[in-house]
């Protein structure tokens, strides 16, 4: 197995000049993951963590049939995977493909084995040994109250950025696309009808209501074409990015205060089942189609200056692919419901480490998707309009000038195939992936005539679970904010009181809405600016989680194995701190917010107006946005460096203590309810 994997990796790495088949990457990934699971995960489980299958888990000693319930490991794996897999592993690799498929593939493989899966597994282990407590509580418990609060503030900021970036992807995918917009809009009344059905007509019948919902979704996609073509309805569902931005902000504010059963829960059913189904279908489709990779292994953009996102391979590739290689957000899931349901400590490697490996596989599939497209189409879809211009001729010329020859006819034909007016500068990753999925699915089922259907199916699948995440995330952010404000003002914490809830929801929506608006109006497409900030914040959360893991290993007196978490922590800190510092202090205005802001404020002081701004007001807003982004980066750096200092202090103290000092909660301390 190791040998097959090695051969496949070698083929992927050394093939140059001739297109290689996507299956080589699939084989390389599968073998790497199986070997890593069999040896590294087991080493961590039994040598480093010293898992004890006989030791009761919270699900056993606290069993209540509700939150705490021993669950079959296969069932729990599904639950855990559905919670961690989202838009991140799909979008990041698509954006990273601008450097070619090789850097992304290697980073996903190495990152997940040594960092991502270790983090998920470690946090699951720590939480499982402590009553299934959440990440904030765990940091507080092992590193003290101040560190806990700092981690909570960091987590909230990351939440805001994630919501803004996700919403931005939806805006980019649905703008000027009446077909896509109609299908996504149709899910709202559909979900409400499902909610009413499960509430009053046949309560709790999720199976049948989901089947009705799926039929409704397919009808919406099928009839969406006629709606988009209609002279009356087409324009009604056509929105500019700015209009969509306001619609999403309004939607987020309303949806997150509606009762959950009405909209959120039923749409959650649809989006979860659709997500799992689409991921499985994509895997099967890639294996059946076995497409060749048309993207080169490396492009000239590895030195920076790429149109999709700016910055060189190091450190920016390592923050562009966050989810899929290593994602800090998973620490919140691995310390959420999963540790309360795990039946035996022996299940933890499969769920913690194995779950993350599966997500890395999703990321690999997304990377393959982006790489099977004609590179000309890829760059025409993902470069900002400021570079490409508006029409196919200018876009084709710009992309051809980059070194990826493409004709205007190809761009027009591709847009026509997928049933869209244009594919030029559809940034954000989602439309690119949708074109790739349409390519793969139509190859397996329906032929070229079905491409438009599959494209809108893919857009719907992405938009649906992103909207669910925006809705659920706004709620979660609201509770986090209430907790934080509650530290200063205890009365704010009550989750039943109306006013604090409304204020916290409003603040949360305003926060992500601000970044969304900034991204939508950004002439460079927004993804260019926001995705790196998201990547930096997400990897910093991962570094914080791994630092917690290091502290726990030191406290367990297992510090001779601390390299397991120290190596990935160090790597993430190097990447994020250098990326953050470049975003602040690099002299290149394309990379640094401060350099960019200074350039524009100097020009503004001289009365000049620099492109892409068209007026002095736009100049000022660009400068303001730059300073906000710079402030945010600085804040993330402060948070992570503070936690680093706390980690060092705690580790040293634990190292000097002769006995283990971890705060594990043993079953005897709790009496079963």
């Amino acid at each position: 197995m190791a040998l097959i994997g090695l051969v496949a990796i070698l083929v992927v790495t050394v093939s140059r000049g001739e297109p290689i088949n996507a299956l080589w990457i699939v084989v390389a990934a599968s073998c790497t993951f199986l070997v890593a699971y069999r040896y590294y995960a087991m080493f961590i489980a039994y040598r480093v963590m010293k898992l004890d299958p006989a030791r009761p888990t919270p699900a056993v000693y606290r069993a209540d049939g509700l939150d705490y319930m021993a669950t079959d490991y296969r069932v729990l794996f599904g639950h855990h995977f559905a919670a961690i897999a989202g838009a991140g592993p799909l979008v990041g690799p698509v954006l990273a493909a601008q450097m070619g498929y090789l850097p992304g593939t290697l980073w996903i493989l190495a990152g997940v084995v040594l960092a991502g899966a270790v983090q998920d597994f470690m946090i699951l282990f720590i939480s499982m040994r402590r009553d299934g407590k959440s990440l904030g509580e765990l940091v507080r418990l092992e590193m003290g109250a101040v560190a806990g609060t700092v981690a909570l503030v960091g987590t909230f900021m990351i939440m805001v950025i994630i919501l803004a970036v996700l919403a931005l992807i939806v805006v980019r995918a649905l703008a000027e696309s009446p077909w896509g917009m109609f299908t996504v809009a149709a899910t709202v009344p559909l979900a409400i009808a499902m909610g009413i059905y499960t509430r009053w007509i046949r309560p709790g019948r999720i199976g049948e209501v989901s089947i009705f919902g799926m039929i409704g979704l397919i009808l919406a996609i099928v009839y969406g074409r006629d709606v988009a073509a209609s002279e009356v309805w087409g324009p009604i569902f056509t929105f500019t990015p700015v209009q969509l931005c306001w619609i999403l902000i309004g939607y987020g504010a309303i949806a997150s205060i509606l009762p959950v059963w009405l909209l959120l829960a039923p749409r959650d059913y649809l989006s979860t089942f659709l997500k799992i189904g689409a991921i499985l279908a994509l895997a099967i489709g890639i294996v059946i189609m076995a497409p060749p990779l048309r993207m080169p292994a490396l492009t000239q953009f590895i030195d920076g200056g790429g149109p999709v996102w700016s910055g060189s391979l190091f450190p920016f590739l390592f923050i562009t692919i966050a989810c899929g290689a290593v994602s800090g957000f998973h620490a919140l899931i691995a310390s959420g419901t999963t540790p309360k349901l795990i039946a035996s400590e022996a299940d933890a490697p499969f769920i913690g480490y194995g779950g993350m490996l599966t997500e890395a596989f999703v990321a690999i599939m997304a990377l393959i998707g982006a790489s099977i497209l004609d590179p000309g189409i890829y760059f025409a879809m993902n470069s900002p309009a400021a570079i490409l211009g508006k029409d196919p001729a200018s876009a084709a010329a710009a992309v051809t000038a980059m070194g990826f020859p493409v004709s205007p006819q190809t761009l027009i034909q591709t847009a026509r195939d997928v049933g869209e007016a244009t594919i030029i500068s559809r940034t954000g990753g989602a439309p690119t992936l949708a074109v790739a999925m349409a390519e793969i699915f139509s190859h397996v089922l329906g032929g070229p005539g079905m491409k438009a259907f599959w494209y809108h199916f893919a857009i719907l699948f992405e938009a649906l679970f992103i909207l669910t995440a925006v809705d659920a995330g706004t709620r979660a952010g609201r509770f986090m904010l209430q907790d934080l404000i509650g530290l200063a003002m205890p009365s704010f914490r009550s989750s039943s009181a109306l006013l604090p809830g409304m204020i916290a929801t409003g603040l949360c929506v305003a926060a992500w809405g601000f970044f969304l608006y900034q991204g939508v109006t950004d002439p460079l497409g927004g993804v260019n600016t926001l995705w790196p900030v998201f990547g930096i914040s997400n990897q910093m959360l991962a570094a914080m989680a791994l630092m917690l893991g290091t502290v726990v290993l030191f406290r367990m007196k297992q510090h001779r194995f601390a390299w397991v978490t120290l190596v990935p922590t160090a790597w993430l800190l190097i990447c994020t701190i250098s990326a953050g510092a470049l975003k602040l202090f690099s002299p290149d205005p394309a990379v640094s917010f401060i350099a960019h802001g200074l350039k524009f404020s100097r020009a503004a002081a001289n009365g000049q107006i620099l492109a892409p701004a068209k007026s002095m007001a736009e100049m000022n807003s660009i400068v303001f946005n730059d300073w906000v982004d710079a402030g945010l980066c600085a804040l993330f750096l402060i948070v992570v460096i503070t936690l680093l200092l706390f980690t060092i202090r705690t580790c040293l103290a634990a190292w000097r203590t002769p006995r283990p000092s971890a705060h594990e909660i043993v079953p005897d301390m709790v009496s079963a309810p």
């Binding site: 049939g65 319930m69 794996f77 059963w261 089942f273 959420g336 998201f534 997400n538």
Partner: protein, 61 residues
């Protein structure tokens, strides 16, 4: 085959935050026979509220 389908159903339901009602009834019967168990509908609403309440919302990007 039947076992597999049952597992699949349980996994699908847990993905959307609905644990098995049968297991809940079994648990109460074994451990707390004196308690009145929630009905299937009450159980469904209880879990729905828990998933999207202050403790829930766990979902990745």
């Amino acid at each position: 085959m039947k076992r597999f389908l049952l597992h699949l159903r349980e996994a699908a339901l847990l993905m959307i935050g609905q644990p098995s009602y049968e297991r809940y009834r079994q648990h109460l019967e074994d451990r707390h026979p004196e308690r009145q168990p929630m009905s299937r509908t009450e159980f469904f609403r209880n879990r729905e509220a828990a998933r999207y309440g202050s403790g829930g919302g766990g979902r990745c990007c």
